[in-house]
């Protein structure tokens, strides 16, 4: 029986690499169930048979822990890295000025009320003092994956997303990493769920995600790890 891993959408690409590496090392298969963190939480609370949950933030795992759906407290396994990104070479050296010019008509941001990357992007824009000015150009994606879709299809001129996109994308993208000091860290948390009670494999996977090998892969995809 494969492990069922509820996976936040921003990990869509990397989870396959992690999974393959884990299976190679342990012989244990995993089935990633990819969805937005909020959706996955709703399902977990209503009986979804998932073993491990990799969230896009800490508040969802904390909420699950508080309600008794987990076997232990959540831990941070990686922190997201925010980038500004486009299919056009617009020159991002001075991106805050660029966003105000007429060359940028639409800006994709993940919905800040539900997606941590969106919250980070708005925080950063706020710090730069241009949030209210660019509001009329903003287009909101339900999850970071949707923002990625908007960027890669060229539906928007620029978008704020995770650095993992650069590694996943097959098209050429131009981007700049946003200074992590301008937003609070996007800490992503993990928990083992009640469903995995007595399942040693879940524990093994949990340990693997915190291992040095996994950290190397996370880093490769642009995540920050301690």
């Amino acid at each position: 029986q494969n492990l069922k891993v509820a996976t936040a959408a921003n990990l869509q690409g990397i989870i396959k690499v992690l999974g393959d590496d884990f299976t190679k090392k342990t012989g244990i298969g995993i089935d990633p169930i990819v969805g937005s963190s909020g959706n996955l939480v709703a399902q977990i609370k209503n009986g979804a048979p998932f073993d491990v949950f990799l969230s896009a933030d800490m508040s969802f795992p904390k909420n699950l822990f508080a309600d008794g759906f987990t076997l232990q407290k959540p831990v941070v396994y990686a922190s997201g890295s925010l980038i500004i990104c486009s299919t056009q070479n617009l020159g991002f050296e001075n991106w805050e000025r660029l966003l105000l010019t007429g060359r940028v008509k639409k800006i994709a941001i993940a919905n800040p009320t539900i997606a941590p990357y969106g919250k980070a992007a708005e925080e950063s824009l706020q710090k730069k003092g241009i949030l209210s000015e660019i509001k009329s150009k903003a287009v909101y994606g339900e999850s970071i994956s949707q923002v990625n879709t908007y960027i890669t299809t060229g539906s928007v001129d620029v978008g704020f997303t995770t650095q993992a996109l650069i590694k996943d994308s097959k098209t050429t993208l131009y981007y700049k990493v946003i200074d992590p000091k301008t937003y609070s860290p996007i800490e992503q948390g993990m928990v083992i769920l009640k469903h995995a009670q007595g399942n040693a494999n879940a524990e093994k996977f949990y340990q693997y995600i915190l291992s040095a090998e996994a950290k190397r892969i996370f880093k490769e995809y642009g995540y920050y790890v301690q």
């Binding site: 869509q12 709703a42 009986g47 890669t152």
Partner: protein, 223 residues
């Protein structure tokens, strides 16, 4: 490429259409006869799932059938049936969700038939049921086929509800629409295209088949 989502989807759509034929035909017929205020309200309720965003409907179903409490718990303990994250759950959701597509066209077509058809059949000693099956239904065949095609296709394309109560479990609830969605999210556009193309082709063939069958039966003018 993994074709199991396609099979799963086809199985779901066929079972749903079949169940809805069994449930929907008598119901549409009953609704078409006379109109008490009770029938009107029932009909409005049947139409409801259509107007709820699928994800919301899915959300309510998720809560209603959650094995943690209420109905869901009772069903699990008593019959060992679980409707969330299971294939039978998808069938139930699809039946609820697609019901108006089966009922609507059939009901209005029945209302448009002249009353003398049924009357003539009654004087021949035929029961209401036999009259319905052998006289009324055959005379609204185009609407019946429309209803079936709409139901089947709508179930094929169902997405929001499944996303909510399905849990995207391979071979159990990972239907084609979810597989496509995943591929798009994953920026694996070629897989998305292949899935879409298969769905497209199946429906295309089905729809064309129905129309040609229908044509063979259609009335031809005198000439």
């Amino acid at each position: 490429m993994d074709l199991s989502p396609i099979w799963l989807t086809l199985r779901l759509a066929s079972i749903t259409t079949l169940l809805l034929l069994l449930v929907g035909l008598p119901l549409a017929w009953w609704l078409s006869k006379g109109r008490s205020i009770f029938k009107i309200i029932l009909e409005a309720i049947i139409t409801m799932p259509l107007v709820l965003p699928p994800s919301v409907l899915g959300f309510y179903l998720l809560i209603a059938f959650s094995p943690q409490h209420g109905v869901g718990k009772w069903l699990l303990n008593t019959f060992n049936i679980q409707f969330v994250f299971s294939f039978q759950g998808l069938v139930l959701a699809s039946v609820i969700y697609s019901m108006p597509f089966m009922i609507g066209p059939i009901k209005s077509a029945l209302q448009q038939l002249p009353q003398s058809l049924a009357q003539a059949s009654y004087t021949l000693g035929k029961s209401e049921r036999e009259t319905f099956l052998r006289v009324l239904l055959p005379n609204i065949k185009p609407s019946l086929l429309t209803a079936m095609v709409l139901t089947f296709a709508h179930t094929l394309g169902e997405f929001g509800v499944v996303l909510m109560i399905g849990g995207n479990i391979p071979n159990v609830t990972r239907v084609a629409s979810i597989a496509v969605y995943d591929s798009v999210e994953n920026m694996d556009y070629s897989a998305a295209n292949v899935y879409s193309l298969i769905l497209f082709t199946i429906t295309f063939v089905m729809v064309i088949g129905v129309f040609i069958f229908n044509k063979a039966q259609a009335k031809s003018p005198l000439e």
